[in-house]
C-alpha cells in the first residue's frame, strides 16, 4: 500500500465523514475515508453508484464542508475552494456559461486569477489547441457536441494551470467512441503537464485504464475498500492495454470488490 506520509504528499484526506441533515432523518453519505496522493499522481476513485463519490469530491474541492475529518492540500486545511485546484464537472452543459463563447469561457477564470492579457491569450489558444478545439474559439458551447463541450471544460481547467485537477465522472454523458478519445486526451494532458489528477468514475475499465492507483469505495456509508496499484505499462493504448492479461486480472479483482460492496449493502438492507 502506498498511502500517507510520503514527503511529496500533495493531497491528504483523513477520517473524512459527511452526514447530510441531522436527527433521525440524517443520511451518512461518507463514513470514514482516509487516503493521500503524491504530487503528479493519477488516482482514480471507483465505487458502486450512490457510494458518495461526488460527496467526497465536493469535500476535497472545498465546495462542501465535511461533518468531521480533514482535507489538506500541501498541508493547508481546505476550508473553501483552494488555490491551484480546478474541477471538471460531469454536467458540462451546465458548467459552461452559455452566454460566453468557447474562448471567453476558458478566459474568464484566468481573468479572475489576474493573468495578464497577452498571457491569457496564449493560454486560451494553447489549451484549446491541446484539446483539439483550436478552430472553434468563437462558437458558443451549445453549438458544439457533448464531447466537444466537455473538451472546452477540460481546456478551461487546463488553462487555469492547476497543480491538482479533480474530475467528477466527466465522461458519463458522452458516447463510447468519444469517451475513449477523451480518456486518451486526459492521459496525454496529465503526462505533458505533470499535474496531480483525481478522477472519479463508476466505470471500472476506465479507472484501470487511466489510473496509477484505483481507490475502490464501498457502498454508502462509504469507506475505502482497497487501494489498488495499477501495475500496467506507463504508455497505454485503447487496444493493447485493454487486451493486456494484467488489465483483465485487475478488472476482475476490482469488479469483485465492487460486487462485494454492493452485496454488503444488500445484506445491510436485508438486516434492517
Amino acid at each position: 500500500m502506498t498511502t500517507t506520509t510520503s514527503t511529496d504528499e500533495l493531497l491528504s484526506v483523513r477520517g473524512l465523514r459527511k452526514v447530510y441533515g441531522s436527527g433521525p432523518g440524517a443520511t451518512e453519505a461518507v463514513r470514514d475515508l482516509t487516503f493521500a496522493t503524491r504530487a503528479g499522481e493519477m488516482v482514480c476513485i471507483v465505487g458502486p453508484s450512490g457510494a458518495g463519490k461526488t460527496t467526497l469530491l465536493r469535500c476535497i474541492a472545498g465546495l462542501l464542508p465535511p461533518t468531521s475529518g480533514e482535507v489538506t492540500l500541501d498541508r493547508h486545511p481546505v476550508s473553501g475552494p483552494p488555490e491551484g485546484m480546478a474541477v471538471v464537472f460531469q454536467d458540462y452543459a451546465r458548467s459552461l456559461f452559455p452566454w460566453l463563447t468557447v474562448a471567453q469561457n476558458v478566459d474568464l477564470p484566468l481573468r479572475e486569477k489576474g493573468v495578464a492579457r497577452a498571457e491569457r491569450r496564449r493560454l486560451v489558444a494553447e489549451s484549446l489547441d491541446a484539446v483539439g478545439l483550436a478552430d472553434v474559439p468563437n462558437s458558443y458551447p451549445w453549438q458544439l457536441s457533448g464531447g466537444m463541450q466537455q473538451r472546452v471544460a477540460i481546456a478551461r481547467a487546463v488553462a487555469y494551470e492547476p497543480r491538482i485537477l479533480l474530475m467528477d465522472e466527466p465522461f458519463a454523458a458522452v458516447d463510447a467512441q468519444t469517451r475513449a478519445d477523451l480518456e486518451d486526451l486526459v492521459r496525454d494532458l496529465w503526462h505533458r503537464l505533470g499535474i496531480t489528477l483525481l478522477f472519479v468514475t463508476h466505470d471500472i475499465d476506465e479507472a484501470i485504464y487511466l489510473g496509477q492507483r484505483v481507490l475502490v469505495l464501498s457502498a454508502r456509508p462509504t469507506v475505502v475498500l482497497e487501494d489498488v496499484t495499477v501495475d500496467l505499462p506507463e504508455t497505454r493504448d485503447q487496444l493493447t492495454t485493454r487486451n493486456d492479461p494484467r488489465f483483465h486480472a485487475l478488472r476482475t479483482h476490482v469488479h469483485g470488490l465492487v460486487q462485494q460492496a454492493k452485496r454488503g449493502e444488500a445484506a445491510r438492507r436485508a438486516a434492517a
Partner: protein, 255 residues
C-alpha cells in the same frame, strides 16, 4: 409569412365588422360610429399640435416611469435575491404590497403632486416596479447549482459572480419583467391621465368624452392600442438581441 398574412386578414376582418355593424343598426351609431369616421377623426386630430403634444407627454411619462421602475426593480431584485436572509425577511411584505392596485393610490398621488405629471408617474413606477422585481427575484433564484459550483471552484469574487453568472442568468427574466412592466406602465399612464388629468392622451380622451366627441374619442383609443402593440414588439425585438444565447431565442432563430 403565412402567419403574418393571416394576422393581417384578421385585422381587416375586424375593421370591416367595425365599419358595417353601426350601418346595420345593431348598435346605436351615436356610441359606436363606423370605423371610417373614427379614422377620419383621428386624421383630423393628427393635424393638431395638441395631439402631438399629448402623445409626447404620454410617451415621456411612460418612458420615465418604466426606466425608473426597471432600474429600481433590477437593483432591489439583485440585492434581495442574493441575500437569503433579506429574501426571507422581505417575502411577506412584497406579497402584501404587490397586489395593491396602483389605481387605489390615486388619491394619495393627487394629494402629493396635484395634477402634475409626477402624480401619474408615481402610479406607473409603483405598478411596473413589482413586475420587474418579481421576475428578477425568480431569475436570481434560478442560477444553476453546477454553474455556481464552477464559479466557486475557480474562486470568482462576489462581484464577478454577480456580473458574470447571476446577472446573465437573470437577464431573460429581467427582459420578461421589462416586457410585462412596459404594458402595465402604459395602462397606468393612460389611467392616470384620464382620471387625475395629468397631461397626455388620457386627458384628451377625457376631454373628448365630456364634449361628446365620440369619433375622436375612438380615434384616441386606437392610438393607445397601437402604442401598446409598438411597445410589445420593441420589447420582443430587444429580447432577441440581448438573449441570442438563450434556448428560447436559439430555437426561434434556428427555425
Amino acid at each position: 409569412m403565412r402567419n403574418a398574412l393571416l394576422g393581417l386578414a384578421g385585422v381587416a376582418a375586424f375593421l370591416l365588422l367595425l365599419e358595417t355593424v353601426p350601418h346595420t343598426g345593431l348598435v346605436d351609431d351615436r356610441y359606436l360610429p363606423p370605423f371610417s369616421e373614427m379614422a377620419r377623426a383621428l386624421g383630423d386630430s393628427a393635424g393638431t399640435a395638441e395631439f402631438w403634444q399629448a402623445l409626447g407627454d404620454t410617451l415621456r411619462t411612460w418612458g420615465t416611469g418604466l426606466a425608473l421602475a426597471f432600474a429600481a426593480g433590477t437593483a432591489a431584485g439583485m440585492v434581495i435575491g442574493s441575500v437569503p436572509a433579506l429574501r426571507d425577511a422581505t417575502a411577506s411584505t412584497i406579497e402584501f404590497l404587490r397586489p395593491i392596485p396602483a389605481v387605489a393610490l390615486i388619491p394619495l398621488a393627487v394629494l402629493l403632486y396635484g395634477t402634475g405629471m409626477e402624480a401619474t408617474l408615481i402610479l406607473v413606477v409603483y405598478s411596473a416596479f413589482w413586475q420587474v422585481l418579481m421576475q428578477v427575484l425568480a431569475g436570481v433564484a434560478d442560477v444553476d447549482p453546477v454553474a455556481r459550483d464552477t464559479a466557486r471552484s475557480f474562486r470568482f469574487r462576489h462581484r464577478t459572480r454577480a456580473l458574470r453568472l447571476v446577472w446573465p442568468t437573470t437577464l431573460p427574466y429581467a427582459v420578461t419583467g421589462f416586457r410585462l412592466a412596459a404594458s402595465v406602465a402604459l395602462i397606468l399612464t393612460i389611467t392616470g391621465e384620464l382620471i387625475i388629468g395629468t397631461p397626455g392622451l388620457g386627458r384628451l380622451i377625457a376631454v373628448a368624452q365630456t364634449s361628446g366627441a365620440v369619433a375622436p374619442l375612438y380615434g384616441l383609443v386606437i392610438v393607445t392600442g397601437l402604442l401598446g402593440v409598438v411597445v410589445n414588439l420593441s420589447a420582443r425585438l430587444l429580447e432577441r438581441r440581448v438573449l441570442r444565447w438563450h434556448p428560447s431565442v436559439r430555437q426561434e432563430t434556428a427555425r
